[in-house]
Structures are given as structure tokens and as C-alpha cells.
Amino acid sequence: MAGNKGRGRAAYTFNIEAVGFSRGEKLPDVALKPPPLFPDTDYKPVPVKTGEGEEYMLALKQELRETMKRMPYFIETPEEKQDIERYSKRYMKVYKEEWIPDWRRLPREMMPRKKCKKGPKSKKAKDTTGKGTSFTNTADVLKKIEELEKRSDGEKSDEENEEKEGSKEKSKEGDDDEEDDAAEEEEYDEEEQEEENDYINSYFEDGDDFGADSDDNMDEATY
């Protein structure tokens, strides 16, 4: 083909003079490694601006950093257990104010689990305690159940059964809540359990009447 200057001789595909090298000149070395991480610069950087405004902003910046560490928005990572518990650590803890967000502005799933449970619970309370009896005390509930058991089965009306259902559910939940209050680990377990049982979660969060569904299982749930 035209353009082949000679067999085996190196020829550039472009005009070498256009790039600035004259013919036959030694080309610069090929770089065999990446450029250095901190290369020497010929030109040192310009000094930082100083002035009243800049100094004030500098002080503001440092103060802001310190202040934000003390705000309740700064969530500390739970530290691992130290080998030796230092006495001074107890006195160097910074007491932070508790911050409670405005729940109305946040999605409902943001609220901690306990409050969520009270939601459907209060609805059930409205449905089932229409008669005015309050079932807040667990002991009372158990006594009432015993009383009802002593009576004959036939006398039980649907409404009473509904009430018992609601009260038993509440008592179970009341127990759960108390257990939750008692130990944080148990609350954590509760959440974990709830995570696994998605079916049950949606069951409550839908806000469906629990009383209405329990009508179907009237025959079995009399204990």
C-alpha cells in the first residue's frame, strides 16, 4: 500500500512535526508508574485570606462544631465496654437535652413502637368499653374472667365475649408494655419479633376493627 516507507521500519501515522518534535529526535521517556502521590510543586500556594470577617467566621466555625456535638441531634455511637471502667468517665458525661420531634410532620412509621401499639389499642378501647367499664388493671380483668367462667355458658352474650376478647388482648398488650418498660432488651426482642412477623404488623396497622374480626372466632375464645 502506498505510504509504507520501508519494511519493518517504524513510521508514525501522523506528522510528527505537527506535535513539535523534529525528525529523529529522542522522544521523552515513557512513564512506567503512576505519578507520585504528593508531587513537588514549583509554585507554592497563595497564603490564606485574613481579615476581620475571616477571623470571625473561623471562630464561628469552630464554635459551631463544638456546639453541634452537644446538641441532642448528635447521636453518640454506643461505646464498647472498656477493659477498666474509669471513675472519671462517669463525671465527664455531657448531659444532653431530650429532643422530641413533632410527630405530626413525620411519617407514622417513625414513631417508636410503643406509641403505635397504643393507637389501635385506644380504638379497641372505644369500641369495646362502651359500657363504661374500664379494663386497665390486669388483676381486675383476671378476676372478671373468673367470674364470667363461673356463670353458665348460655348467659354469655356476644357483646360480653367481645369485651372479654378486647380486654384479654389489652391485658396481653398491657403485660407486654410492662415488660417493655422493665427491660430494654425485651423491647428490642419485641421489635425483632415484630419485624419477622410482618403479617401481624400489617394486621394491626391497618386500623381494622379488631372486635369485628373476633366475631368469627367466638366459639373457641372463651377462656
Partner: protein
């Protein structure tokens, strides 16, 4: 989001909100919009902590949520808003220059807390101001409220979108998340509050922040259990307005540097008058007649109409085209070309960077290529009057750093290199983007270095803090000079030296961060102005 931005966001979130918030925030920035359970699963944190982190991020306007179909709520992080954390000191300082200490503290509280109700802000600021005043004097709520209203009127603070009032509470189950709405007209409407009261001074016994046992301090109880009159109306700092102010400042100082003080005053007046009439993203301000400008000049400036006209003509004829003449009615209608100004400022930044990095000869070549748009290798050597070898070397250096790019113009359809023109050109937009990316990397490096320096000397810093605490407590209980001397000598002279060096280095690194942020602002404003809306 580029890797550099993500790294910088991660460092900022970690420094200001802790590691848990940082993990969640960075995960959201990387992966985009996600629901709660997926976040918890992917990051491996407990649901409880994810919720807390999201609450904090939403409070500070760094994350927004949206309800998708089937009731799933998805959370999205706003990377650019996280980067604004760097600029907080500048916002607060600007508020100070415009509205004095009261304005400064109002903006500071709003930035620290994300959003607050007006009554909460007023109370807190009044308390803080009272602390700094002399004994016996207190700050009145009304004064603080006044400043707040002024800030709202000039749009420096704005209302957050509101939860819509629940019209019918029994229309089925409530939505999983409220949809927040805000009416344009209501954004700066200040609620009618009658805030009566004075700032409270904290009792001096509670004031020690020296690390003494805080276990004995009584738990903080809320002072008033009365219902808050403006409950639900939250305010936030309007960052866009601050940016507009910074941009105006940059324009005025550019004109002052290029021409003289009087022209910069004229431009400042023009900007001030068109503040309200021009939207912030407009390419140029609303036309102003020269008569109007004369009327609106500040009181101290007695320039005659003729002199003003001469200045305006000079400004309009300037090759940089900051000011343009758009008509002849009313003595001449003049506009400020905002987008052109931003372009000029970005170009000036690029030129300055080339000069400081590669030297003034490189800068000459750079300016030459900018001016002539496209140049061949030979032409560059001729026009710049620089020997061929050096010119070639400099061009390639700038090319490798992407300040200059090559434009190929083939002579033949097969693009053979020997038969193609290679022209050097400067693409300002892409060079600006490249420089912006480098700025993000720089700040990330500065923050890392500062954290490294602080960690290296952690032991020494703690020791000096303890010594200071001891001295302070001893002074409070009244101690002799000799004892204080003894305590001070606990820190040896070489340690003092080390502390001095550390302080100087940290200050320098912090100041550099603030300065790089100024460059970021200019470049971001320019790039934003080029995006077609």
C-alpha cells in the same frame, strides 16, 4: 453524586451529627430513594437507630420523604443540602453584618436546629443575648421579634411547608405520612404573636461547663406548660436568599476591582432596587431607567445626573458586559447581565487557578486560547511569543489537567491523524465542573488532615483541657498565685509549643476550608446558571 461529593458529605455528617446519622445519610445519598426497612437491612443497623437518624436528618432538611403507592414511604437524601453545612459560618456572619447580633443569633439557632417555631426562636435568642449583657439588664422579646419580622420581610427566613389541617378525621385510616404543602404567598407571613417577656439569665451555679459533676444538676423541666400560640408553624433559614446576597456581593466587588468605588455603588443600587422584582434565577435584572437609579442612590452620594449617565455608559461599554443597555426611554434603560457576570467570575477563577498552579506564562497561554477560542499549536507559539518547546510543554501540562481540551477537525473522512487539524480550546463549563470536583476533593482532604492532627495530639489536648478546668475552678474558689503557677507548670514548655503549633495548623486548615467554599459557591452558581430551566 460523584465519589468526591459523597466522601465530603460523609465527613460533614460525621463531624456534625455522629456516626450513625452519617451511615444512614451516606447510604441514602449513594442509593437514592429507599423505604425504612430496606435502609435498616442494607446498613445493618437496628430499626430504632435508623428511625432516630432519619428524624434528625428530616429535622435538618437533609432528607425528604414521599409516599409512594401501596402506602410505602420512601426517603431521599439531598446531597447538595448536606454540602451547605460548610457555608453555615458565612450565613451567620452575613446575618450579623445586616442585622447585628440579634439577627446573627436568630439565623444561628435556625441553622443549628433545622426548623423552629417563631416563639421558640425568640425565647432562646433573648435568653442568649441576656447572658452576654451586663448584670441587671435583660433582652426584651419584642426587640427580638422585631428583628425576626425584618428577616422574614427580606426573605432571609421562610416558613416550612405545613401539615394540612385534618378536615375529616374519620375518612378512613390516616395516610402513612403527611403531605406537606406551602402556599407561595404564605411563605413569609409572620403569625400575629404577642410575645411578652424578657430573656432569662441562667443562674451562675448552673453555668459551669468545666466538666464538674453534672449529676447533681436537676433535670431540665419545661418552663411553661401553656399551649404555644404558633404551634405547627415552623421556620427555616432561606439559603437561596443568602446565595443571592453573596452573588450580589461578588458582582459589586468585581465592579469595584475593575473600575472604581462609585461604579460599584451604582451597581449595588441597581441590584438593590431589582432585588424584589427579579427572580433569583433570571438571566438579567429587570430594566431600570437611569432616572430611577438617580433617585435610589444612597443619601451620601451626590452625583449629578450627567455624571451618572457617563458612568452608566462606561459600564455598558465595558467588554465584560456586566451592565447592558436595553432601551433609551427614561434616560436609558439598563440591566445587569447576571448570567454573564457569573460566567466572567468563573472564568476569572479558572485563570487565577492556572496562574497559581502553572505560572504566569501558562496563564498567558490560557488567556490567549480563551480569547481566540480555537488555536493550533503553531499559532499558540506565535501569538504568545513563547519558545516552541516551552509552549508545547505548558500546553500539554494544562491538557493533562483538563483545563484545555483538543478539538479535532478532520480534513479527510478517515480521520487520519496526519491530515487532521488539532485545535486547542477552552470549554469553560467543563473546566468549571472539573475544578468544582477538585474543590470538593480539597475540602475533604483538609477535613481529614484536621481530624488527623487533632487525633495525633488527643492526649495533649485532653491534658490541657483538664489543667484549664482545674485552674478555672481554683480561681473561682479563690486561690493564690503560687498555686495557680504550680498548676500551670503541669504543662511543660515543649508541650506548650506543641499545642501552639497544633492550634495554628487547625486554624489554617479551617480558614482554608472557608476559602475553598467561596470558590465552590462561585462555580456552583455559574454551573447552575447554565442549566436550562
Amino acid at each position: 453524586m460523584t465519589q468526591a461529593e459523597i466522601k465530603l458529605c460523609s465527613l460533614l455528617l460525621q463531624e456534625h451529627f455522629g456516626e450513625i446519622v452519617e451511615k444512614i445519610g451516606v447510604h441514602l445519598i449513594r442509593t437514592g430513594s429507599q423505604p425504612l426497612r430496606v435502609i435498616a437491612h442494607d446498613t445493618g443497623t437496628s430499626l430504632d437507630q435508623v428511625k432516630k437518624a432519619l428524624c434528625v436528618l428530616i429535622q435538618h432538611n437533609l432528607v425528604i420523604y414521599q409516599v409512594h403507592k401501596r402506602g410505602v414511604v420512601e426517603y431521599e437524601a439531598q446531597c447538595s443540602r448536606v454540602l451547605r453545612i460548610l457555608r453555615y459560618p458565612r450565613y451567620i456572619y452575613t446575618a450579623k453584618t445586616l442585622y447585628n447580633d440579634t439577627g446573627e443569633l436568630i439565623v444561628e439557632e435556625l441553622l443549628l436546629n433545622g426548623k423552629m417555631t417563631m416563639s421558640a426562636v425568640v425565647k432562646k435568642v433573648a435568653d442568649r443575648l441576656t447572658e452576654t449583657m451586663e448584670d441587671g439588664k435583660t433582652m426584651d422579646y419584642a426587640e427580638v421579634a422585631n428583628t425576626f419580622v425584618r428577616l422574614a420581610d427580606t426573605h432571609f427566613v421562610q416558613r416550612c411547608p405545613l401539615v394540612p389541617a385534618a378536615e375529616n378525621s374519620d375518612a378512613g385510616p390516616p395516610p402513612p405520612a403527611p403531605t406537606l404543602v406551602i402556599n407561595e404567598k404564605d411563605m413569609y407571613l409572620v403569625p400575629k404573636l404577642s410575645l411578652i417577656g424578657k430573656g432569662k439569665r441562667r443562674r451562675s451555679s448552673e453555668e459551669d461547663a468545666t466538666g464538674e459533676p453534672k449529676a447533681k444538676r436537676p433535670k431540665h423541666t419545661p418552663d411553661n406548660k401553656e399551649p404555644i400560640p404558633d404551634d405547627g408553624i415552623y421556620w427555616q433559614a432561606n439559603l437561596d436568599r443568602f446565595h443571592q446576597h453573596f452573588r450580589d456581593q461578588a458582582i459589586v466587588s468585581a465592579v469595584a476591582n475593575r473600575m472604581d468605588q462609585t461604579s460599584s455603588e451604582i451597581v449595588r443600587t441597581m441590584l438593590r432596587v431589582s432585588e424584589i422584582t427579579t427572580p433569583s434565577s433570571a438571566p438579567f435584572t429587570q430594566p431600570l431607567s437611569s432616572n430611577e437609579i438617580v433617585r435610589s442612590l444612597p443619601v451620601g452620594y451626590n452625583i449629578s445626573k450627567q455624571v451618572l449617565d457617563q458612568y452608566l455608559t462606561l459600564l455598558a461599554d465595558d467588554p465584560l458586559e456586566f451592565v447592558g443597555k436595553s432601551g433609551d426611554s427614561g434616560g436609558g434603560m439598563y440591566v445587569i447581565n447576571l448570567h454573564k457576570v457569573l460566567g466572567s467570575l468563573a472564568t476569572a477563577t479558572l485563570e487565577s487557578v492556572v496562574q497559581e498552579r502553572f505560572g504566569s506564562r501558562c496563564a498567558r497561554i490560557f488567556r490567549l486560547v480563551l480569547q481566540k477560542k480555537h488555536l493550533e499549536q503553531k499559532q499558540v507559539e506565535d501569538f504568545a511569543m513563547i519558545p516552541a518547546k516551552e509552549a508545547k510543554d505548558m500546553l500539554y501540562k494544562m491538557l493533562s489537567e483538563n483545563f484545555i481540551s483538543l478539538q479535532e477537525i478532520p480534513k479527510t473522512p478517515d480521520h487520519a491523524p496526519s491530515r487532521t487539524f488539532y485545535l486547542y480550546t477552552v470549554n469553560i463549563l467543563s473546566a468549571a465542573r472539573m475544578l468544582l470536583h477538585r474543590c470538593y476533593k480539597s475540602i475533604a482532604n483538609l477535613i481529614e488532615r484536621r481530624q488527623f492532627e487533632t487525633k495525633e495530639n488527643k492526649r495533649l489536648l485532653e491534658k490541657s483541657q483538664r489543667v484549664e478546668a482545674i485552674i478555672a475552678s481554683m480561681q473561682a474558689t479563690g486561690a493564690e498565685e503560687a498555686q495557680l503557677q504550680e498548676i500551670e507548670e503541669m504543662i511543660t514548655a515543649p508541650e506548650r509549643q506543641q499545642l501552639e503549633t497544633l492550634k495554628r495548623n487547625v486554624n489554617k486548615l479551617d480558614a482554608s476550608e472557608i476559602q475553598v467554599d467561596e470558590t465552590i459557591f462561585l462555580l456552583e452558581s455559574y454551573i447552575e446558571s447554565t442549566v436550562k430551566r
